[in-house]
Structures are given as structure tokens and as C-alpha cells.
Symmetry: none
DNA sequence: ATAAAAATTTAGGTTTGTCTAAAAATAAAT
DNA sequence: ATTTATTTTTAGACAAACCTAAATTTTTAT
């Protein structure tokens, strides 16, 4: 089935707001999408007719299984494009969101699969959010970004946010890899860079960008 | 000034149809855009109000200086994206047009300038059409139509006159593409068809219609 | 030069996605 | 348990971009 840009934005918003919550309210959607509640009601009727959501008047809304699939497809596109913008076009990770909001509506599936391959099948976007695969499978975020871990707490690297050669080169140079044990010694507020102590030995400094694509679990 | 997708498509269509012609007719736009003439008239009024075109009822339409600048901006985006798709994502040159039709409407100028740089400031798209620079400057096409080249003179295909899937399918079938070297062996007066020898090997026959949309440069 | 044909515009509708204002349903508070 | 407040829906409008049918203008052909 095909969807308009407006429909896609509603579907995505329901997905995001549903996180944790059981159902999503009209007002929440209205706030998220910057439209009036009355407009939301109209669209919910349309999406219900398309079986993308389950919705009863006054009772809130949920995505159907189909709706979840659609949402994950849009999120996949959004995050792959964000990765592209940061990794290939040298955008700052704080300036990619708006552009990706537009790019996520480009319809070609072939495009997105080829982009995915070109980028090296990245698993996480520049903000550390997991990128759904082409079947809509998404890694549950029980991992913690290195950039948000407590100081002086031993952790182990469990995932890296992409397979790009540039990232791998940098990791190799810093002596970091899957399973490396380390702890954060200090965070510099100026640029978000971190000082790490690896296995109680070497001390290395990593940038905010690098820290955000390193996922760790406590030991 | 900002433009809707529909407006951008009209502006681009006027630009393309104006090639050679002095003014563009409502019917020509209607055919190009697959809309009814009445719809074209509506949009022309809107674009006139925005000073993008000059237009008098029944007298046809021209782009204003401003309109030309907008058109070249859209064409720049279109062709850069086509280049990206072929050069980076390994699309076939015959399958990029539709996707680029969508991508050309992404609004960020920063995006397009960074993309341009990432691609190495390409001067021609995969079909051989010149890519306008960020100031709207475009290399003039001093190419010759295949149908008017001298017999037995080696030439190279540098551009094709349209991106229709029908044309691209035919070219693929005949073994012709960008950069193919060939020479015209014979012209048949009866139907204007040409016999070509490709790279001193295969001999293929092409119709007058096909020969008129293939552009070549002497070797 | 006038009639026929073709091109273009006008007039009046439709759909999509939005809005405002008013009504109805639900939730909260006394 | 009512009243009050909040949330949500309904009703009626509007702009964008399209449509059909009819009217008008321009072009072509007799």
C-alpha cells in the first residue's frame, strides 16, 4: 500500500508516542505534529479505514501489525539518511534531522536497500538509535551509549554503530574492539570528548562522535 | 522564495520545453505534465503572480530571469542525485530518472552543496547532460545529433535526448550507452534509418527517431 | 472572408489536509 | 454525585491542485 507524506508522518508519530504507553491520545498527536486535534481526528479515521491503526472514538489509538511495519520502514529510511548525511556528507549530527525528515519520504525501496549497502549496513544512526533492517527487525536498545555511561564504572564494548571502514580504522587505531573493557575517566564539556582508561592501562581520548557509536554493557 | 512540488514541476517543464522555442504553449505543458490544459492555466496564473513566468492569456508562457534561476536549481539537484545514484549506489543509468524526480524536491541547499562536493563536482550527469553549478551556470551543449553526422566518422555518444524508460530500454537492447564509440555506415533515404558500426565490430540499425535523440561528439 | 478546427480559458466540482467554532464525551474536583 | 474542566469529535470552511464541461479565442482551411 502507498501512503501520502501526511499519512506517513502520522504513522511515525503514533509509533514514537506509543513507546511505553499503551494507546496514544489525539492531543498527544496534535502536539507532536503541530496540528489541531480536529485535524488529527480526521486523519485517524482515514488510517483506521486503511487498517493501519486501531482506533475507537475517545479511546485513543494504536498501530496495527501492518502499521508497525510501515512505521519501521519510515524510521529505517530516516536513520539511514541521517547516517549518510553525517558519515558521507560531513554534516554535524545536530543538523541532520530536518533534512532526514524530508528524505524519509522518498519512496524507492531499491534506493534504500542500495543506500544501506553503500553505508555498510549500519546498525545505529548518528544519535545511537538502532536502524531497523529491511525486514523491519530492530535491535532493542538495552545497550547504553558510551557517551552516557557513568564515570569510573567498568563496561565492555558490545556493539559499534556501523561497519564503515572509516569507523573501523579509527577503532583499530585507538585499540578498541568488540569486548574491550574500559571505564570513562572524564568527560569534557567543551566538545563532549571522553577520556577512557582501557583495561586499567592505556588512557585514550575519544570524540563525542565516536563515543556515540560505541555501545557498552556494565560488567 | 519557496515552491511546492507541483510548482517546481511546472517550472522545470517550462524550462525544458522552452529549449529552442520562444514561448511554451498550455497544451505542451499539459502533455509534458500529464495534466489537463485547464489545470495548467490555473497554475500559470499562480506562477505569474509569483513573477516566475511571464504569461498573457492565449499567448503562451516564458520563464522570467528568476524563474530560470529556480529551474536551474531544480535541474542541478536532479542531475547531481542521478550522478550519485549511478556513481555511488551502482544504479543502472536507465533506472535513476524516477528516483531523481523525487529527490530533486528535497529543499536543503546545504545538502545539495555537500552532495556536490562529495561527488567531486561532476560536470555531467549519467545521461551526458551538463550539471548547473551552484550559481546556476550551465555548460552549453555543443553536441551534434547522430542523425546529422558524417558517414564513416568515429564519434562517441555523449548524451541522450530524453530519460523515458522506453528510450533507455531500446538503447540497452541495441548495446548503446554513454561513451559508446561508433560510426555511421549508411543512411537509408527511404525511412531515415541508419546503419551503425559499434567499436568496429557489431553492426546495428537504428531508426531516424532514435538517431535524432542521440548526441555525439567527434573523436 | 468566413466557417470549421484546435487551443485555451472560465466556471463549477472533487479530494486532501488543514482550520475554527460548537457540541459531545470523558475525566477531575468539589 | 453533580458540577466543572478537559479532551475529543462533529460540522462547516478553505487552499492547493486537480478534474469535466462549456465558452471563448486563435488558427487553419475552404
Amino acid at each position: 500500500m502507498k501512503f501520502t507524506m501526511a499519512e506517513e508522518n502520522y504513522i511515525k508519530a503514533v509509533y514514537h508516542l506509543q513507546h511505553g504507553q499503551d494507546v496514544v491520545s489525539t492531543n498527544a498527536l496534535s502536539a507532536e505534529l503541530q496540528t489541531k486535534p480536529a485535524s488529527v481526528t480526521d486523519m485517524l479515521k482515514k488510517l483506521k479505514a486503511k487498517k493501519i491503526i486501531s482506533y475507537e472514538p475517545y479511546r485513543g489509538v494504536k498501530l496495527s501489525a501492518e502499521g508497525r511495519k510501515v512505521a519501521l520502514g519510515i524510521i529505517r529510511k530516516h536513520r539511514l539518511w541521517e547516517f549518510f548525511l553525517v558519515d558521507k556528507l560531513q554534516f554535524g549530527w545536530d543538523e541532520v534531522h530536518e533534512v532526514a525528515e524530508e528524505l524519509e519520504h522518498i519512496s524507492s525501496n531499491k534506493l534504500i536497500d542500495k543506500l544501506d549497502e553503500f553505508l555498510g549496513h549500519p546498525k545505529f544512526d548518528p544519535h545511537g538509535d538502532p536502524i531497523p533492517d529491511s525486514k523491519g527487525k530492530i535491535i532493542a536498545q538495552l545497550q547504553e551509549q558510551l557517551s552516557t555511561t557513568q564515570l569510573h564504572t567498568p563496561v565492555e564494548i558490545t556493539a559499534v554503530g556501523s561497519q564503515s571502514t572509516e569507523l573501523l580504522e579509527l577503532l583499530k587505531h585507538k585499540g578498541l574492539q568488540m569486548g574491550t573493557r574500559l571505564e570513562v575517566k572524564k568527560v569534557f564539556d567543551f566538545d563532549g570528548s571522553l577520556e577512557l582508561r582501557i583495561k586499567n592501562q592505556q588512557v585514550v581520548t575519544v570524540s563525542r562522535e565516536l563515543a556515540s557509536v560505541l555501545f557498552v554493557k556494565p560488567l
